[in-house]
Symmetry: C2
């Protein structure tokens, strides 16, 4: 239990939370081990549980009625999952899929609502987190609306670096597998176009890493130029 509390304590959602809040949360929580490619829940299901990703990484997918897929965002340690749906009493709007092994804590809808109602700090933190996502989506919407594919891909990679990047010998690494298709679904384009673009960048020595090996950005400044130039 104390181990769990120390996990919670490090997350943005529990930032500045007092002892009682932490204890109540830790007691009411369940734990769930996640293996790569497993899902936490499915888009459209009734929202019964709210999750907090302790470690690992998730891809949040949204499927269109006609079966196409869009990647809404990636989630990392400390991120809330399914919380908005639970608090709004609406079906989950998307499906979170593990892209690597991980672990999540979860609460029933009632427990989560109680937690937030009784601890204003948690409510404020939730608003912060959700608000941040809202603004990120607004930014992406703008990109999608005004910029061409190459710039969008550059911006997306930079965003991944910012959110999950890890320094390595020859640059910055995105520390999990990211297929061409996934990059395409993040950028409203096709895997073909992504492939062509990344090939060109590899030629220029901007990045490297094929297949299941992780992407390494060797010249982040060049990506910034592409994302911002004109």
């Amino acid at each position: 239990m104390d181990a769990r509390k120390s996990v919670l304590q490090r997350t943005a959602f529990f930032k500045n939370a007092d002892g009682p809040a932490l204890s109540a949360a830790a007691e009411a929580a369940g734990e769930l081990a996640l293996k790569k490619d497993e899902t936490l829940f499915h888009q459209g299901e009734e929202a019964s549980y709210s999750y907090l990703l302790a470690w690992g990484r998730l891809r949040l997918d949204q499927t269109t009625p006609d079966g196409r897929n869009v990647v809404i965002r990636y989630l990392g340690p400390g991120d809330l999952v399914g919380t908005v749906a639970v608090l709004r009493r609406k079906p989950y709007p998307a499906t979170p899929v593990a892209v690597e092994d991980g672990m999540a804590l979860f609460w029933s809808a009632a427990a989560k609502a109680k937690l937030i109602a009784e601890h204003p700090t948690l409510a404020a933190n939730a608003i912060n987190l959700i608000g941040g996502r809202l603004e990120e989506l607004q930014e992406r919407l703008q990109e999608l609306a005004t910029q061409r594919v190459e710039r969008r891909i550059a911006a997306t990679l930079l965003r991944m670096v910012r959110q999950a990047g890890r320094r390595v010998a020859d640059g910055v690494e995105i520390p999990f597998t990211l297929s061409r298709n996934e990059i395409a679904e993040m950028n409203a384009t096709t895997l073909h176009t992504v492939s062509r673009t990344l090939s060109a960048w590899e030629q220029e020595g901007i990045l490297s890493g094929k297949r299941s090996s992780h992407l390494v950005i060797t010249k982040p400044h060049r990506l910034v130029e592409i994302a911002e130039h004109e």
Copy 2:
């Protein structure tokens, strides 16, 4: 003051709020009359005030570094404006412009934070509202990513009808001026393409209303077909 309370009482943000919450809110609030084309604040400014639109209608604009404009959404009576930025202590991410005369109530950042911290009901309502916007944006992102222009425009008009539509003799009216350019900026396209599309629809008798007169959708079911077909 009581008049103000009765205004507040009807909004989603104050839903289920108890007497003390309402009184505190009403006392701390300022009032602001809005004329068409006036702005509440500007994108990039530090967020000092949080607003609640009492009546009227706003268009939320986001400008790109290179001067292009994107319409994030329209806001109607009862909507919160600038609240996320205030609570996150970040600059306003967009600019709200009045598209018709209206009135807003406003609170200082400190007053708003206090209000939410002391009244869990308000916190829950805020999460609901912000969460709803998040999900709407996810839906739009998906549309933008997977559908062609014609379907996106249809979906946008239907959304406007849902949010602000008013029944009239020959169909449903969108009760404020909506230029071709504004529709374009909502749909990541150009006013030219919007013009062509609406012209075609007018030929088919799906809708009518030119220039400064309001759009009237005469055959909403046809729009639904276009938005969903295939």
